[in-house]
C-alpha cells in the first residue's frame, strides 16, 4: 500500500492553503486529492469579485484568487491528483479513492479534511407544494451559468438572502433575466451588507424580510410561487399569501459541511455539522485535521485560507511529534446569543501564544459586549455596536490569560446591564 506523510482531501482554497503551510513547515510528502477537474474548488465558478480584501489587501475574482494558490502549490512541487473521488476514510488513516486510473488506497500518517460544503436545498427544507423543474439552488444556477454557459430561467424569484443568492440576483439580471424579488424568512438579511447594496439595492430588486415561499406551483416547469409573511415561529401567516408568476425559484438558504467521510467513522460532530476540533483544527482522531467549509461555513474565503494554514501547520507539528494528545483540555461553549464556537477545545499545552476563536451570533444585536469567561473569570470583554449572524467573528485570546480550570464560554451581554 502506498504511504504518504500527509493526504489532503479537497483541493480548494482550504486544502491548498493547508498543503502550502504544511510544506513550508517541513512536510514534503504531501498528496492533495481533488474530485474536480481543476484545483480551486467552488471558487472556479465564483467569477465575481470581492475575494482577497483581507488576505491580499486587494479585490480579486474567485479564479484570480485561486490561481495565486495554485501557483504557490505548483511552485513547491506539491503533488495533487485531479478527478479523484475519495470514497472511504478509516480511523487508522487509510484513504480510498477512485479515478479513471483505478481504485487506490493510501496509508497516510496525517490527513487534512478540506472537502467543502453543499447547499441546503428544497428537499432539506421540505418546501411546500409541487416539485417542478425550475426550483434550483443558487449555486447550481451559478454552476450552469459560469461553468457551462447556460441561463436557467428568465423570471426569477429568490428564497433566502444568502450571499450566493444575492450574487446570482445581479448575475442573472446582467444576463437578461428579470429578478422579481428576494424573500428572507428572518427579519434581517443573511448576506453580507455589501452584497445587499451591490446586488439588490443597486438593481432595484425588492427584499421581503420575514417572508417565505409557502407554495410551489407547476407540474412540469415552475409556473408560480406563493410567498407569505411569517409569524415569530417562522410559520406562514394565513391570508398573507401573494402569488408571483415565475419560471425559476433560486434557493439561497444556507450551506452544510460536506462532512460525510468523518461522520461515517463516528468523529464527534459540533453544532456546525462539521467535526469537533482543537485549536490546531485537529479532530478527535489524532492526526486527522479539518478546515474550511467542511468544518464550518465561512462567509469570506480569506478566513478559509487562514484556517487551512492553521490545519496545515497542525499536521506538520503532528508529523514531527510536536502535537501530543493531552487529557486535560479547555472545552469551549457557545453561551447566551452565540450559535457556535470553533474550536471545540483548546489544548493549552499545545497552543500558540495567541488562541483564536471563531463564532457566529444567533441573531443581530446592537450595543452588546462579547464576553469570554472561563468559569467565573472574565478573560476578555469587547464592546460591539452591532453584530450580525452573517459575519463570522474572530477573536484572539492570550494563551497566558487561560488556564485548565473550567469551560471557556463566549456570550453576549446587554450593555445596559453593566
Amino acid at each position: 500500500m502506498e504511504t504518504r506523510d500527509l493526504v489532503i482531501i479537497g483541493g480548494g482554497s482550504a486544502g491548498m492553503a493547508a498543503a502550502i503551510s504544511a510544506y513550508d513547515a517541513g512536510v514534503k510528502d504531501i498528496l492533495i486529492l481533488e474530485r474536480g477537474p481543476f484545483l480551486g474548488g467552488i471558487l472556479n465558478q465564483c467569477i465575481h469579485n470581492g475575494f482577497g480584501l483581507t488576505y491580499f489587501k486587494e479585490e480579486l475574482t474567485g479564479p484570480e484568487f485561486l490561481t495565486r494558490f495554485v501557483e504557490e502549490t505548483k511552485k513547491r512541487g506539491i503533488e495533487y491528483r485531479l478527478n479523484c473521488n475519495v470514497t472511504e476514510l478509516t480511523k487508522d488513516k487509510t484513504v480510498s479513492f477512485l479515478s479513471q486510473e483505478g481504485a487506490f488506497t493510501v496509508k497516510a500518517k496525517a490527513i487534512v479534511m478540506a472537502a467543502g460544503c453543499y447547499e441546503r436545498n428544497a428537499g432539506a427544507i421540505g418546501i411546500p407544494g409541487e416539485r417542478p423543474s425550475g426550483v434550483i439552488t443558487a449555486g447550481q444556477a451559478q454552476l450552469y451559468l459560469n461553468e457551462y454557459g447556460y441561463l436557467v430561467g428568465k423570471k426569477v424569484f429568490i428564497l433566502g438572502s444568502g450571499d450566493i443568492g444575492l450574487i446570482m440576483a445581479r448575475r442573472m439580471t446582467l444576463e437578461g433575466a428579470k429578478v422579481l424579488g428576494v424573500a428572507e424568512i428572518m427579519p434581517y438579511s443573511n448576506g453580507l451588507n455589501r452584497n445587499i447594496q451591490q446586488c439588490l439595492i443597486d438593481f432595484d430588486i425588492p427584499l421581503y424580510l420575514s417572508h417565505t415561499v409557502s407554495k410551489v406551483i407547476g407540474s412540469g416547469k415552475l409556473e408560480a410561487i406563493e410567498i407569505s409573511k411569517v409569524d415569530d415561529k417562522l410559520r406562514p401567516i394565513e391570508g398573507t399569501a401573494q402569488r408571483i408568476e415565475c419560471d425559476t425559484l433560486l434557493l439561497s438558504i444556507g450551506l452544510i459541511p460536506n462532512n460525510d467521510l468523518l461522520d461515517k467513522i463516528g468523529v464527534p460532530v459540533s453544532p456546525t455539522r462539521g467535526s469537533q476540533v482543537s485549536e490546531h483544527m485537529e479532530t478527535a482522531i489524532p492526526g486527522v485535521f479539518s478546515c474550511g467549509n467542511v468544518l464550518h461555513v465561512h462567509d469570506l474565503v480569506d478566513y478559509v485560507v487562514e484556517e487551512g494554514k492553521v490545519a496545515g501547520l497542525g499536521a506538520a507539528k503532528y508529523l514531527s511529534g510536536e502535537l501530543p494528545t493531552h487529557q486535560e483540555v479547555i472545552k469551549t461553549k457557545a453561551g447566551e446569543g452565540i450559535g457556535y464556537v470553533v474550536p471545540s477545545r483548546i489544548d493549552l499545552l499545545n497552543a500558540e501564544e495567541k488562541v483564536q476563536l471563531k463564532f457566529r451570533v444567533r441573531k443581530p444585536r446592537k450595543d452588546v459586549y462579547v464576553e469570554y469567561r472561563q468559569g467565573d473569570k472574565l478573560i476578555k470583554r469587547m464592546f460591539k455596536p452591532a453584530i450580525i449572524p452573517s459575519e463570522m467573528e474572530i477573536v484572539s485570546l492570550d494563551k497566558s490569560s487561560l488556564s485548565l480550570e473550567g469551560e471557556l464560554t463566549v456570550s453576549l451581554v446587554e450593555k445596559e446591564v453593566r
Partner: protein
C-alpha cells in the same frame, strides 16, 4: 393489429408486460409520462408486504401473499435491490394488544408466517423504538425493495423479450370494434385484440371508455420524508403502527439504499395529478412517527414527496375481464399492497384472463434475466480495480453523494429501456438522490443525456413535458 395493448407503465403494467413477453405475441405498452413507473409506482413506501393485513378471501390477500413469495427469485432475475428484513406491527398501548391478536389470526388465515413479540423482545431487536412499546406482530417474510429499478428492470426485461413501449403517449379514447379495440392516443391510433387497463389512478377513466362502471378509483394522497443514510441499523425492520380505516398508518423503515423513509399521510384529494406536499400534513406524519420511534433525526431530511394511492370504491382490487366489452381487462384500484402484488397480478392476468381470450404460444428463447447491473460503490477493492481497468468510466464518480460513476450512467443510457429524462437517470442509478439533491451532478447528467439523445442541452427535460432545466445560452 396488436395482440395486446397495455395502458399504463407502472408496476402492474410492467409485470403483465413481462409475463406476456414469454409468449409469441405482439405487445405494446402505452405510458403517458416520459418514464415508466413515474406515478404511484414511484411514490410509495416500497414495501414488500407479508400479507397479514388484507381481509382473508380478498384479491388483496391472495395477490399479496402470492406476490411476496415471488420476490426473492424475481429480484434476483431482474437484478433489483431487495431485502427480506421483516416487519413489525407495534402496539404502543396495552389496549391495542387485542388488535394484534386479530392481526395474528388474519395472518394465519392468509397463510403468512407471523410471530408475537413482547415489548422487551421488540426493544432488543429495535433499540430505537419507544420504550412504551407493549408488543408487536413480527412478519419475517416482509421486505423492502427498490421500486424504481423494480419497474424499470421488469420493463427492460420485457423489451429485451420483444415487448414495445411508447413513452409520453396518452390514451385519449378506446372504442370497441368487431373482435378488436381501437385505442386512440394523443399521437396515433392502434388496433388490438386485447386491451389491458393498468392505468393506476386513471384506471376508472380508462374503464369508462368502454363500459358503464359502478366503481370508482379515488386518489388518496400519502406524504413522506426521506432521510439521508446517516447510520446503518437505526431501524432494522419495517415498523408499522396498528392499521386503521385510513390504511396501514405512518411507517418508519430503512430503504434498500440505506436511507430512511417516514410516512405516509392519508388524505383524499380531487386532483388525480396532485403530487404536492404541505407542512401541516408532514408535521402530523412526524408526530405519528415519533410516537413509535422518538429520536428520528429529522435534521437528516433530504427530501419530501407525495404519491397517490389508487383507492377503489369496492375496497378490493378490481381485476377482471369486462362483461360489456369482452377482451378488455381491468386492473383497477391497485392500491397498497399493490407493489408486492403486481408480479402475482401479472401472472394471473396472463394465465387466467388473457389466455382465455387469445391462445398464447411460449417462446423458445425467452430470457428471464436482465443484463447484470454494476454499482461501483458496492464492489470490493479488487473488483473495483478490475472493472476500472476494463472501463475507466467506472472510476469517474459523477454523483458524489451516492457515489454513482459515469460508467453506470452510460450503462443505463445504453439499455433497451429508454432513459429520456434526468429523473429517469436518477431513478435508475441514484445520481442526484443524495443529500445535495443533484446540486453538483445534475449538469453532468444533463449534458450526457443531451449527447445521448442528440438534442440541445436546452431541450433536456427534468421529467414531464415542459420541464426543461435550461432557458438559453449565456451572453
Amino acid at each position: 393489429m396488436e395482440d395486446i395493448i397495455i395502458i399504463g407503465g407502472g408496476a402492474v403494467g410492467a409485470f403483465i408486460a413481462r409475463e406476456l413477453s414469454r409468449y409469441d405475441a405482439s405487445v405494446l405498452v402505452l405510458e403517458k409520462e416520459n418514464d415508466v413507473g413515474d406515478a404511484t409506482s414511484m411514490a410509495n413506501s416500497a414495501i414488500v408486504h407479508s400479507g397479514y393485513d388484507p381481509v382473508p378471501g380478498t384479491k388483496k390477500a391472495r395477490f399479496n401473499v402470492e406476490g411476496n413469495a415471488m420476490f426473492p427469485r424475481l429480484c434476483e432475475e431482474l437484478d433489483v435491490e431487495f431485502e427480506q428484513c421483516g416487519s413489525m406491527t407495534l402496539a404502543m398501548e396495552e389496549g391495542q394488544l387485542p388488535m394484534l391478536d386479530e392481526l395474528e389470526r388474519r395472518g394465519e388465515l392468509n397463510g403468512v408466517p407471523v410471530k408475537r413479540l413482547s415489548g422487551e423482545e421488540v426493544l432488543a431487536l429495535e433499540p430505537n423504538v419507544s420504550p412504551d412499546v407493549k408488543g408487536a406482530l413480527l412478519c419475517p417474510t416482509a421486505g423492502i425493495v427498490n421500486p424504481f429499478t423494480l419497474v424499470a428492470h421488469a420493463f427492460e426485461n420485457a423489451i429485451d423479450n420483444g415487448v414495445r413501449l411508447h413513452l409520453g403517449e396518452r390514451v385519449m379514447d378506446v372504442k370497441k370494434g368487431e373482435g378488436f379495440f381501437v385505442v386512440k392516443t394523443d399521437k396515433a391510433s392502434y388496433e388490438a385484440k386485447v386491451v389491458i387497463n393498468a392505468a393506476g389512478v386513471f384506471s376508472q377513466e380508462i374503464a369508462a371508455m368502454v363500459e358503464d362502471i359502478d366503481w370508482k378509483v379515488n386518489p388518496r394522497k400519502g406524504e413522506y420524508y426521506v432521510l439521508d443514510h446517516f447510520a446503518p441499523g437505526f431501524v432494522n425492520h419495517v415498523l408499522f403502527p396498528l392499521p386503521s380505516e385510513k390504511g396501514k398508518g405512518v411507517l418508519v423503515t430503512h430503504t434498500t439504499s440505506g436511507n430512511y423513509l417516514v410516512g405516509p399521510s392519508s388524505e383524499w384529494v380531487d386532483d388525480k395529478d396532485d403530487r404536492s406536499t404541505d407542512s401541516p400534513t408532514l408535521d402530523n406524519v412526524r408526530a405519528q412517527a415519533t410516537n413509535m420511534v422518538p429520536n428520528i433525526p429529522f435534521r437528516q431530511q433530504i427530501r419530501v414527496f407525495a404519491g397517490l394511492r389508487a383507492t377503489p370504491s369496492t375496497h378490493d382490487f378490481i381485476i377482471e375481464e369486462s362483461k360489456a366489452a369482452p377482451g378488455f381487462i381491468h386492473c383497477a384500484g391497485i392500491e397498497s399492497p399493490g407493489l408486492v402484488s403486481s408480479p402475482a397480478i401479472g401472472r394471473y392476468v396472463v394465465e387466467e384472463l388473457v389466455k382465455g381470450i387469445l391462445p398464447l404460444k411460449e417462446k423458445e428463447n425467452y430470457n428471464p434475466r436482465v443484463r447484470k447491473y454494476v454499482r461501483i460503490a458496492a464492489l470490493d477493492e479488487t473488483e473495483k480495480a478490475r472493472l476500472i481497468k476494463e472501463n475507466p468510466h467506472y472510476g469517474e464518480i459523477v454523483c458524489n453523494c451516492e457515489k454513482v460513476s459515469l460508467g453506470e450512467i452510460e450503462d443505463v443510457l445504453s439499455r433497451s429501456l429508454p432513459a429520456l429524462t434526468i429523473k429517469a437517470i436518477k431513478k435508475r442509478t441514484r445520481a442526484g438522490f443524495g443529500k445535495c439533491q443533484g446540486g453538483f451532478c445534475q449538469p453532468k447528467v444533463l449534458f450526457l443525456l443531451a449527447k445521448r439523445l442528440g438534442v440541445s442541452p436546452l431541450e433536456v427535460l427534468y421529467d414531464r413535458k415542459g420541464s426543461e432545466i435550461l432557458n438559453k445560452e449565456s451572453k
